[in-house]
């Protein structure tokens, strides 16, 4: 009866239905509406930048990792997430370089999937910001037809981009920081403001994040902790000194939504304990407000998350739950 094809595996013989590629592709799926919103606001430029960053990520992964790894979806996530942090007018070749850097130096150099300390997409963006500061801070205003480029997307590599006749303007955070000019809240929530591809519609990002949280593909405690910290901290400062922006403006402006929902919750680079996620979010929230208000930059989400990424191993170690049947630290069972 023990014919060929009989299986001998270790227990447990049944498994939950989630798999790592399934989780990754669901994250990709959840990014599609965010991407669609970016296309609505910035037209074909959004698609070009996304294609460039994603291609950079995938090509690098394919070149240096096993072919099977491409199918797990994680490189695609990095590429798309990176694109969502970039300005729509960015030349495609820069986006490609950013994607390649994100995968090569953000992930593969640490040993591939699951080994990296820092969020690869944000590391890619940090690199681009250092390498191309002007291109990374030119923010077109969402206006014009779908086919109208929002910048010199098709510039040749290492050529200085031609001047394209589009209306650029400060982002709401930039306007606040440098001109003390506010933006109406409804514009921030819907996303009809200048900014990076995914910096615009808070509403869509929240809905997509809720979908992932319901499927338990991200730990909801991290974004909620960030939101609460940012809102309360900024509101407290606003009460003390009304020159500072209020809590709601802080919540819905800039890359906070995208960062809190999609970047800070990256499974690999966020804490694995629930308490750890609360602490992680608290740290990010404080850093975001500190950088935005007292730092030299208008936006602080990227560096806040990258800095907190470095603390994740410590947070994990410090927040281990009490093992069943063991006395609590300094207490009785």
């Amino acid at each position: 009866m023990t014919g060929p094809g009989i299986l001998i595996t270790a227990s447990p013989h049944l498994g939950a239905r989630d798999s790592t590629p399934k989780i990754m592709w669901h994250v990709v799926l959840s990014l599609v509406p965010v991407l669609a919103a970016a296309c609505y606001f910035f037209g074909v430029s959004a698609l070009l930048v996304t294609a460039g960053a994603t291609a950079g990520a995938l090509v690098t992964e394919a070149a240096f990792a096993k072919p099977r790894v491409l199918l797990d979806g994680s490189a695609a996530i990095t590429g798309i997430l990176l694109a969502l942090t970039l300005p729509p007018g960015l030349p495609v070749w820069m986006a490609f370089v950013g994607g390649a850097f994100a995968i090569g130096f953000g992930k593969l150099i640490f040993g591939g999937l699951g080994q990296n300390i820092f969020n690869p997409a944000l590391l890619g963006r940090a690199f681009l910001q250092a390498a191309f500061p002007v291109a990374l801070t030119t923010w077109p205003v969402p206006r014009g037809s779908f086919w109208q480029l929002k910048g010199d997307n098709l510039a040749l590599p290492f050529m200085s981009p031609r001047h394209v006749d589009v209306l650029t303007g400060a982002t709401p955070l930039g306007a606040m920081k440098f001109d003390h000019a506010g933006t109406q809240l409804w514009k921030l929530v819907l996303g009809v403001t200048g900014g990076s591809l995914g910096e615009t519609s808070a509403l869509i990002i929240l809905l997509c994040g809720a979908y992932l949280a319901l499927r338990n593909y991200l730990n909801w405690r991290t974004p909620i902790s960030i939101f609460i910290t940012v809102a309360l901290f900024a509101e407290a400062l606003h009460v003390v000194n009304p020159q500072y922006p209020d809590g709601l403006f802080m919540l819905f402006s800039g890359g906070l939504m995208l960062g809190a929902v999609f970047m800070a919750t990256d499974l690999v680079t966020s804490p694995i304990t629930h308490l750890g996620c609360w602490i992680f979010g608290l740290g990010i929230g404080i850093l975001v407000v500190v950088i935005r208000i007292w730092g030299g930059l208008a936006e602080g989400v990227m560096y806040a998350i990258l800095l907190m990424n470095a603390f994740v191993p410590f947070i994990n170690r410090a927040t281990q739950p009490r093992v069943f049947g063991h006395a609590a630290k300094g207490g009785r069972t």
């Binding site: 299986l7 270790a10 447990p12 093992v323 069943f324 063991h326």
Partner: protein, 439 residues
């Protein structure tokens, strides 16, 4: 509904509908019986028969070797064909008594005096249980007489009866509770007398309302026995989880249930204790669930201990073309079988034949730190950390992270999206740590 519960755990599909309503029936005697000497926790029994000896049903064929051991009895009349190595369901080859069953025997027991249990003092009740070779039937096969002899300095207050049966597919305990509730209560009565206790609680997962109803209906008026429903969650049937759920007590690490005043016994074992005093027969047969989409006619069978898996499956119409993996025990903690000559033991709760589609994939991915294993672990370990330490063979460090508290329930492996064989790694680490260090 019980208001206390244990935290964490997983929710595998229950899959019990194949046999949950199938009444228990007796399988025909096979032509050969194999009785491994090692089928209980503790020291293996010592064979006392030789090749060619004639044995009747219920005759002792192996004697207990010391206190932490139990005798083994012939489950069918016949002739001893061999005493030697035989495939064991744990995957090894192990000493066993092989009996060729006499096809013309009526398989009646030798006439023997059935002791009237209520006339016996606790010490003699215990001795009768020991002589009958009774062990826990929930899987671990711990000698029952040892469990019922707690040290004098332990203060007990409650007897817990484990009817959780949280493993998917299995319905052995379920059918026992539905069909033999009086026997369960008689077993409880005998155990209470031995332990000198007055209170017993039966815990049953709420997916078995008919079992709860049957046990409540048969409840004797003169005993303090309650039947409580439990959350349907794996591993609800683990001793420590059951105690947490029913009494909200936490067994300290490295201690036993009796240290929190509790003795836990599986419901099928309790029924067996009653059976010993009802029939005078030792533990020579048990109820086994044979189920899964790989079995032609899933059933709950009364099976002579020592029946080979092949004969057992044949009694259920054999395998279907989709059969891919044959598991002894439940699909969460059971062992896959390479050899159908391995026999049913006293602790065999079921045989589950799975299809390829439902067997957990063994293509694994790197750990993505999703933390699902931490949320699954019922004893709050960090399987993610333990798993990476195990991969590097840093076993001593695993001890610092409380590997000893892991009961190998498999919840972490079950939930891992990267299919990392965590509980298998932990079993390996435990085995490596048990090994005496090379000088």
């Amino acid at each position: 509904m019980n208001l206390t519960y244990f935290r964490h755990g997983v929710h595998p599909p229950e899959l019990k509908e194949l046999t949950a309503r199938v009444p228990i029936r007796r399988m025909p005697y096979p032509s050969e019986i194999v009785l491994p000497l090692r089928q209980h926790t503790g020291k293996p029994a010592r064979a006392i028969v030789r090749r060619g000896d004639r044995v009747e049903r219920g005759d002792k064929v192996a004697e207990a070797d010391g206190m932490m051991s139990v005798p083994i009895h012939a489950s069918a009349a016949g002739t001893v064909r061999a005493v030697g190595l035989w495939p064991h369901p744990d995957g090894t080859r192990s000493p066993a008594v092989v009996i060729t069953v006499d096809p013309y025997s009526a398989q009646a027991q030798r006439p023997r005096m059935i002791p009237e249990w209520y006339k016996l003092p606790p010490a003699e009740l215990l001795e009768a249980i020991r002589q009958a070779g009774v062990v826990g039937l929930g899987g671990a096969a711990f000698p029952t007489h040892v469990k019922l002899t707690p040290p004098k300095d332990v203060a007990l207050d409650t007897l817990l009866i484990n009817g959780a049966e949280c493993e998917p597919y299995l319905t052995t305990d379920h059918r026992t509770m539905v069909e033999y509730p009086e026997r369960v209560h008689l077993g409880i009565r005998i155990m209470l007398k031995i332990l000198g206790l007055t209170r017993a609680i039966i815990g049953v997962e709420e997916n078995k309302p008919d079992a709860i109803a049957a046990l409540r209906a048969a409840r004797p008026q003169d005993l303090d026995v309650s039947v409580l429903g439990l959350h349907v969650k794996y591993p609800q049937g683990a001793e420590k989880m059951l105690i947490k759920s029913l009494l909200d007590r936490e067994v300290p690490s490295g201690k036993l249930p009796m240290h929190v005043g509790v003795i836990v016994q599986n419901v099928a074992s309790v029924a067996t204790i009653a059976e010993v005093f009802e029939t005078g027969l030792p533990l020579i047969e048990r109820i086994v669930t044979v189920t899964g989409p790989g079995v032609a006619r899933p059933a709950n069978l009364i099976v002579p201990v020592g029946t080979k898996l092949g004969d057992l499956l044949a009694a259920c119409g054999g395998l279907t073309p989709r059969a891919a993996e044959i598991v002894v025990g439940g699909p969460m903690m059971g062992n896959a079988q390479p050899n159908l000559d391995a026999p049913v033991l006293k602790g065999t709760t079921g045989v589950v034949v799975l299809t390829k589609a439902e067997v957990k994939s063994y293509a694994s991915y790197p750990c993505i730190h999703c933390g699902h294993c931490l949320d699954a672990c019922p004893v709050f370990l960090n399987p993610q950390l333990l798993g990476s330490l195990a991969r590097m063979e840093r076993y001593e460090e695993m001890t610092e992270h409380h590997l000893a508290d892991c009961m190998l329930c498999g919840s972490c492996s079950y939930t891992c999206p990267s299919n990392i064989p965590l509980s298998q790694l932990f079993a390996l680490a435990k085995a490596a740590l048990r090994k005496p260090k090379a000088a």
